[in-house]
Structure formats: structure tokens, C-alpha cells
């Protein structure tokens, strides 16, 4: 019997490592992981220099992890194991009531040289710097400005977790007190918490974004802040399309394969074909006097604001505004209306993408990706003649970069 056990151990071990390595060698490499929504590492370039300086061997470890056979299954095994250990989280993502996920740990920013990985505490100086940056820009941009800072899932859905809301309270304290009147700060936390606790589906469970319903509530607050309360469109003005099976970015990071999907809602007012979304980029061109000047040119444009192809794939949220672009405009045709509409400048991260359909009903939109480092907002305000400005920047971004501090 001992011999059988010894043989079983030896054979099983050899078979497992040989099979995995054979499968690894024989199976074709994947370029992209749908489950994780990211490009996978490929076989690193081999040169003797790269071998000598260690970069080859460092990258091959990534390659092995990314292209490993049954990767998705194994990632799930880890998620289950962590749950059995009562850890309550995996890869920095909390698992809460009803499959609610929320990122707890971030790469918090102190300076370009100093960032702390996997930390829930944040650098107060970074947050204050961003608040002051927004204040300063709002004071001198000459536009009526509204600032909307969507909290993180962990802040909104705190009732779903046993995780304390110490950090939420600290951040909220700084934000609630830090803004000048000109910045037009709207405090969304109490409103969203109330809705969330009442069981309303305002934040996605598997993604870090709000739902379209959540965006609608934010839209109402923005309109009120702009003094356009009377023009707010009621929910009945939109028809709702439900896109099932949406597994968001938080889900990908968490590796909790047993957590079910979200439903992504698309609200349409029925006049989408009147809108055109244009993606622009800025290049250096020769000006009239021969000197180089920056000039905007369109590289993509499409009707409406929705790109339906995304709805078939994993990154469904990308359907709004075609994912991430640095400079975009959403204009409505002028047919049958009295000339041009008022223009609104939006400085944003991806939370704004679901807000756009609502705001586009009232303004022509010029959208700058603040999260992507587009900070020279006043120049574009002048170029497009915008009269109002809206800042949409998630709390996570406020502690992981200082782009708002460089607004000008």
C-alpha cells in the first residue's frame, strides 16, 4: 500500500507539471483577456542584452502568468480560497452583501516619485491640492462652474460591507469644507448613500462606475446647480434598454467568479440620430506665418453617442462615447432650431460618459479627459466658446493623481 501511495504521489506530481507545461507550450497564446478586459503579456523579445540585464526573465514571468492554461479557472480558485479563509476581499476588492464588490486598496499618490500601492489611506495633501486646483481654476475661468465628484463604490455602498467608513468620512470632510462658492461643488455622498440604502440600483455591483440611474440623479443635481431646475427631463422622457451580463472592471480584478453580472441600462430619448460625437486630437501644424501652431483635427466621428459594438463584448461601459478619448464634442444638428445651443465644457473622467446623454439634451458638449491629463481647459473654453463648465472627477482619481491641481 505504501508503494501504491508513493507511486501515486510521484506519478500525479509528474503528470500535473508535465501536462501543464505541455499545454502551455502547445496552446496558442491569447492576445486579450475578455474576462479581465486587458491585453495579455506576449512572449518577450529575446536579445542577449535583455537576458543580461534581467528584463527578459522579468517579462517571461508575466508571460507565464498571463498565458497560463486555464488561467481564468485558476484565478477563480484563488477567489474561492480567499473567501474560505474569511478574508472578505481578494486583490484589494471587498466582497459585500448581494455580491456587491468595491475596490478598497488604491495606488495613492504623494508625488510623482512616491506612490503607495495597495493602500486605503490617502495623502491628505494630494486631495487638498486637487481641491485648491479646482478652486483656483473656477475663480478665473469666467464661466459658471459646477463640480461633481462621484464617490467611490466603497463610499456609497458602505452599508454592504463590514469595512469601516473612516476614510470616507475623512475624505468627505475635506471635500465638504474645501470648495469656494465659485467651484459650485455638489455633495453627492448623502444623496447616493440614501438611494443605495433604499435599495435603488445607483451604483454597479461589479464595476466602479455608477449606473445610468445614478448618472440621472447626478444630472438632476447638476441642472439644479446651473439654475435650470425647470428644464430637467423626467425619467419618463426616456425609454430604457437593458443590456444583461455586464461584468465590470471590479469583477475582473476581484477574481470572484461566483459573483453574478450587472445589468447595464441605456436610456434614450429617441432623438439620438440628431447628435454627432466627434473625437479630436491636437497636432502641431504650420500656421499662416510659418510658425508651428497647435491645431485640432477630427479622427473619428459617429452618430449619437453610443457605439453598439461594445455591448456585445466585455467592456460594455465603453459603448458610451466610444470609451476613452482625450477631446470629444457632442453637438446636435441645428435643423428646426433657432441657431446654436449653449456650449458646456466638461472636464471629466469616465463617470461623465453616462452623464453625457442627459446633458446633451440641453447643451452642446465639449468634453476634455482630465483623467488623461488634459489640463489646459481655458484654452479650449476659448476656442469653442463655452459658457459653462462642469467638472466630473471620481474620488479615486482625486487621491491617485493631481491632474485637477494643474488645471489652467
Amino acid at each position: 500500500m505504501k508503494k501504491i501511495c508513493n507511486l501515486a504521489t510521484a506519478v500525479l506530481f509528474s503528470v500535473v507539471i508535465l501536462c501543464f507545461s505541455a499545454a502551455f507550450a502547445l496552446l496558442p497564446d491569447n492576445a486579450f483577456s475578455d474576462e479581465e478586459n486587458r491585453v495579455l503579456a506576449q512572449f518577450p523579445e529575446f536579445t542577449w542584452e535583455r537576458l543580461a540585464d534581467g528584463s527578459f526573465s522579468a517579462e517571461i514571468n508575466e508571460y507565464f502568468a498571463d498565458q497560463f492554461p486555464a488561467r481564468d479557472l485558476l484565478v477563480g480558485v484563488k477567489g474561492v480560497t480567499e473567501t474560505l479563509m474569511l478574508r472578505g476581499e481578494n486583490n484589494g476588492v471587498l466582497l459585500g452583501r448581494d455580491g456587491q464588490l468595491a475596490v478598497r486598496r488604491f495606488k495613492v499618490y504623494k508625488s510623482r516619485l512616491e506612490q503607495t500601492d495597495d493602500m486605503d489611506y490617502y495623502y491628505e495633501d494630494t486631495l487638498r491640492l486637487n481641491v485648491e486646483g479646482i478652486n483656483a481654476w473656477a475663480a478665473e475661468n469666467g464661466m459658471e462652474t459646477v463640480t461633481v465628484l462621484p464617490p467611490r463604490t466603497v463610499d456609497i455602498a458602505s452599508s454592504a460591507f463590514s469595512y469601516p467608513d473612516e476614510i470616507t468620512r475623512a475624505m468627505h470632510g475635506t471635500l465638504a469644507e474645501g470648495f469656494t462658492d465659485e467651484a459650485g461643488f455638489i455633495d453627492l455622498l448623502p444623496l447616493f448613500r440614501e438611494k443605495y440604502d433604499a435599495g435603488e440600483y445607483v451604483f454597479l455591483r461589479t464595476d466602479h462606475h455608477w449606473t445610468t440611474l445614478g448618472a440621472y440623479y447626478a444630472y438632476r443635481e447638476i441642472m439644479k446647480a446651473f439654475g435650470m431646475e425647470d428644464e430637467i427631463l423626467p425619467p419618463e422622457a426616456f425609454s430604457t434598454e437593458e443590456v444583461p451580463d455586464f461584468y465590470g472592471t471590479t469583477w475582473s480584478r476581484a477574481g470572484y467568479k461566483f459573483v453574478g453580472p450587472d445589468v447595464l441600462e441605456i436610456w434614450t430619448a429617441g432623438d439620438e440620430e440628431r447628435f454627432t460625437t466627434t473625437c479630436l486630437s491636437e497636432k502641431m501644424e504650420k500656421g499662416e506665418d510659418g510658425k508651428p501652431v497647435k491645431a485640432l483635427s477630427a479622427y473619428r466621428s459617429f452618430s449619437g453617442w453610443l457605439v453598439r459594438d461594445y455591448l456585445e463584448g466585455k467592456d460594455k461601459y465603453g459603448a458610451f462615447l466610444d470609451g476613452t478619448h482625450n477631446i470629444q464634442t457632442v453637438f446636435r444638428d441645428t435643423e428646426g432650431t433657432s441657431g446654436e445651443r449653449e456650449r458646456l465644457l466638461i472636464l471629466k473622467d469616465s463617470f461623465a460618459n453616462t452623464l453625457v446623454p442627459f446633458l446633451a439634451q440641453h447643451f452642446d458638449l465639449v468634453i476634455l479627459n482630465l483623467a488623461g491629463g488634459i489640463t489646459d481647459a481655458s484654452r479650449y473654453a476659448e476656442e469653442f466658446g463655452t459658457e459653462r463648465a462642469l467638472i466630473v472627477y471620481n474620488w479615486e482619481n482625486l487621491i491617485t493623481n493631481t491632474n485637477p491641481a494643474s488645471l489652467r
Partner: protein, 497 residues
């Protein structure tokens, strides 16, 4: 390359096992081990293969004159030995300590400008380990405790043998010299090695790395909100982390050795159940302790030359032990700290402790081991001191914060598993259920002699648990693979030594 990487488990190891076992010839098998070990070693920094080969070659070549003269002309043999040791130690001193000495000399005002650190000098991995292994050959040869190894490949295979190459255990040449040419690979030895390897892998990846994450987090919170609770978490989880990391590595090394027919000495013997620091150092990194005892402490006179000299010898050994761990003052202090504790225990403390109830002795030992780890883990002495003060409320904002408290609660199951796993209890229970020890084959005593394994037949329960043992190993291997696939690469702590 490290054992806890996918490329080792699913590329290097299968290739090595296949090549090794398809070749029937002993000499050729040593070739396989030698060449593949060089690849294993050179994986990160291939240049340093040359440094290692130079060390191996010089020690091998100097071995001939030492052996030739050791009986006829002691003086001449001693010169050759000194030369050989010089070559080895020069490499270690240069690569590991040059910049440390330069950095400290630069603190002198008139040297600040004249000296500059050597750029691009990184520590060749494992140099501290293999240098000590090579030295054990040279010294034992001179002492007549082993024979000269004429076969370069066999000697090279001894030094480079990938299981113990980069993080020990430090295998003395005389403990394996016969095995280099006459080992016998058997099925019981192989499967015992597999089990031992998988246990080590699990200890490192599932428990050690998890403790490390808690430790990193607790340490990270200090720069936001220093609390006493986080400082205690730093101590507790670092204590567990380094044990699981390093003893897990030794388990893997011993297990891999068995897969290739080698029987290595144990390196850890449940160090955290010690009831004194003296006992701790008999249980922790035993191969290093033995090395210093054999090649430094006893040659200096050990405890036979009077009390005063004995204390001097202890001081030298512990200064060197600390310094061996790293070219930084915190390691030196760490060594000195234990040297002082050991002297105190020798003079009076052990006698006092013996009168105390057992639980206090354990608490005392654990507490001072833990304080030691603060010194060890903070290369920045000021930060280490701040952490130490935080334990007792010095410079903290509060005892704890809600978030730190949450983290501690969530880490409690891990803490329980890790704490129990650091005692002999789980193994004792499992062996009891099995009616035998499935990792006994290949075990050796402290002199390197095989410990015979009982071949009593298994009862029904033993048979069931025999199967369960295999299933358990497969489960651990699967879990480890899952963790490796889903995590960024985590190297071993002892890699830097």
C-alpha cells in the same frame, strides 16, 4: 529563478526531471544537474555565473595541493588553504560589502570627496550561501575530514546544485560527498521529496506571502496614521512571514534534493516553540548556526578557553552572523542584539527563566525574537526605532484606527492557521492519523546519517489517509498555482543574502 514561480514549476522542473531520469549514467546525471543549475542561477543575472564559476574553479584547483600536503607538510597545506579561502572571501567581500565600507568611510569628512561608490555593483544572488559551502570543502579538506574531489563536474554540481543554491540550507561538503558519486534515487525517496516540496511551496505561497501582505499593509499605514496596533501587526506578521518564507524555502530545497537522490540536513526545527533565545538559535537556520560553530566558534577556542574568551568568541560569531545577513548596520545590530541576549542567558537569564512557568518563557522568547525582526526588517534604523516605540504607544496617534482594526480582524484566521502551523502539532496529528510519516524517507540526523524508516504495514485508516495525503498534496499544488497565476511575482526574502 525562484521555486515559487510558474516558470520554475512548469518549465524548468519538468525539463530537469525528464533530462535527469532519461539519462541512466551517474556521471552524466551530474552533468545535467551542473549545467541546468547554472541556467537556473543565471536566469536573472547571467553575468554572475562567471563569478560563481571562478569561485568553484579556484576552490577545486586549490583542493589538490591542500590534499597533497595536509599530511606531510601542515604549514604548506595551511598556506594553500588560506589562499583558497582568500579567493572565495574576496569575491564575497567585494560584491557584498564593498559599497557598504565605501559608504561608511565616506562619512569621514576628508574621504567624502575622494571616494565614490562603485556603480552597477549588485549582489550576486546566493553568494553568501555558496561561498560558505565552498569554504566548508576547503576547510574540511585541510582538516582531513573529507577527501579531495577530483571530478570538476561533481564538485561543481555540489556547489551549484539548484535546490540549495540560492537560499540554503548551507550543505557542508562532507555531508554529501558520498552522495555526489553514489547516491541512489528511489521511489519512496522521490515521492517523499515531492510531498516535502509541496508542503514548502504551500508554506511559502499560501501562508508566507499572505502574512507578508498584512505586514506590508500594516507597515504602510504608519506613514498615514501611526498606531500601536499596526506596529504590533508589523511584528507579528513579519515574524510569521519570515518563518514561512524561509523555512518553506528550506522544505522545498530538501524536497527537491530528495527528488534527485540527495539527503540534506534539516534547517528548521519549529523555532517559534523555543522557550529561550539559546534554544531559538538551535532551531532556526540550523545550517548557518552549525557552519559558524564548526568553522569560527570552535577554531577560536569555543567554550574551552575560559569564560572571558568564550564571551569574546560569542561576540565575534554573532557580529559575523549579523553581518552575513546583509551589508547594513541594522543587520550588524541584529546580530549583536542576539549575541548580547545569548550572553545574558548564559550568565544568569536561563537560570532565572527555568524557575518561571513555561508560558512566560515562551512569551519572553517570542517577544525578543519579534523585537529582533524589527531590527531585521527595517534597514532604516530610525524607522525601525519609531516602529519599536509605536509598540508601546510612543509617537502614535491612537491605539488603533477602525481600518487597522478591520484589517486585523480579517487577518485573524490567517494568524490562527499560521501560528498553529508553526508548531509541530499539525504534523503530529496528521502522522498519527496516517500511522506513519510520509516525509520520513530521506531524513538524516545532525551528522548526516540516514534515519531508518519503519516499514510497518498500514492499517485501514492508514491506507485511507495515505490516499488523502496524495490528494492533499495535489490540492496544495493546485492552490499554489492559482495564487501564482493571479499574483505578481514574489521573490524570497533570503534572496538578497
Amino acid at each position: 529563478m525562484v521555486f515559487s514561480s510558474l516558470i520554475f514549476l512548469f518549465a524548468f522542473l519538468p525539463v530537469t526531471l525528464v533530462l535527469y531520469y532519461v539519462i541512466p549514467n551517474r556521471k552524466a546525471r551530474n552533468w545535467v544537474l551542473f549545467v541546468l543549475s547554472l541556467i537556473f542561477y543565471g536566469w536573472g543575472e547571467p553575468v554572475y555565473i562567471l563569478v560563481m564559476l571562478a569561485s568553484i574553479t579556484s576552490a577545486w584547483a586549490f583542493g589538490f595541493p591542500i590534499a597533497k600536503y595536509r599530511e606531510s607538510d601542515r604549514k604548506r597545506a595551511r598556506v594553500w588553504m588560506a589562499l583558497s579561502l582568500c579567493c572565495n572571501l574576496t569575491a564575497l567581500l567585494f560584491f557584498k560589502y564593498a559599497n557598504f565600507f565605501i559608504g561608511n568611510l565616506r562619512l569621514l569628512p576628508f574621504l567624502t570627496e575622494r571616494l565614490s561608490p562603485i556603480e552597477g555593483l549588485t549582489l550576486p544572488i546566493g553568494i553568501s550561501f555558496y561561498t560558505f559551502q565552498i569554504m566548508s570543502y576547503t576547510i574540511d579538506l585541510y582538516r582531513g575530514e573529507t577527501d579531495v574531489q577530483r571530478n570538476y563536474v561533481a564538485f561543481g554540481a555540489y556547489v551549484t546544485l539548484f535546490p540549495q543554491l540560492i537560499a540554503g540550507p548551507i550543505v557542508r561538503y562532507r555531508d554529501v560527498d558520498d552522495q555526489l558519486t553514489e547516491r541512489r534515487e528511489t521511489l519512496p525517496l522521490f515521492s517523499s521529496g515531492v510531498r516535502r516540496f509541496i508542503i514548502g511551496l504551500g508554506k511559502k505561497v499560501l501562508i508566507g506571502d499572505a502574512c507578508s501582505r498584512v505586514y506590508e499593509y500594516a507597515r504602510g499605514t504608519a506613514q498615514f496614521h501611526p498606531t500601536a496596533a499596526a506596529a504590533w501587526m508589523v511584528v507579528i506578521f513579519y515574524t510569521l512571514h519570515i518563518y514561512y518564507d524561509f523555512s518553506g524555502y528550506s522544505d522545498m530545497a530538501i524536497g527537491l534534493g530528495r527528488m534527485f537522490g540527495f539527503r540534506f540536513l534539516e534547517n528548521f526545527n519549529y523555532p517559534y516553540i523555543s522557550s529561550s533565545i539559546t534554544e531559538f538559535w538551535r532551531r532556526w537556520h540550523m545550517s548557518l548556526g552549525t557552519w559558524f560553530k564548526e568553522y569560527v566558534y570552535i577554531p577560536l577556542g569555543g567554550n574551552r578557553a575560559g569564560r572571558l574568551k568564550q564571551y569574546r568568541n560569542i561576540a565575534i560569531v554573532w557580529f559575523l552572523t549579523g553581518f552575513w545577513h546583509g551589508a547594513s548596520w541594522n543587520f550588524v545590530l541584529w546580530g549583536v542584539y542576539f549575541g548580547v541576549l545569548l550572553m545574558l542567558e548564559k550568565t544568569f537569564l536561563l537560570k532565572v527563566l527555568e524557575k518561571l512557568p513555561r508560558v512566560f518563557r515562551h512569551l519572553y522568547a517570542l517577544l525578543f525574537i519579534g523585537f529582533g525582526w524589527i531590527l531585521f526588517s527595517f534597514t532604516d534604523l530610525r524607522a525601525g526605532w519609531a516602529c519599536f516605540l509605536s509598540l508601546f504607544g510612543g509617537g502614535v496617534e491612537a491605539f488603533s484606527t477602525p481600518v487597522v482594526g478591520y484589517e486585523f480582524l480579517r487577518a485573524l484566521p490567517l494568524l490562527a492557521v499560521a501560528a498553529i502551523g508553526a508548531t509541530p502539532l499539525p504534523k503530529r496529528i496528521w502522522d498519527g492519523l496516517c500511522g506513519c510519516d510520509w516525509t520520513a524517507e530521506g531524513a538524516v540526523d545532525e551528522k548526516g546519517r540516514e534515519i531508518p524508516v519503519s516499514d510497518a504495514p498500514l492499517g485501514l485508516r492508514g491506507k485511507i489517509f495515505g490516499v488523502l495525503t496524495t490528494v492533499l498534496c495535489a490540492g496544495i499544488l493546485l492552490c499554489v498555482t492559482a495564487y501564482l497565476v493571479d499574483s505578481t511575482f514574489s521573490p524570497f526574502l533570503y534572496f538578497i543574502f
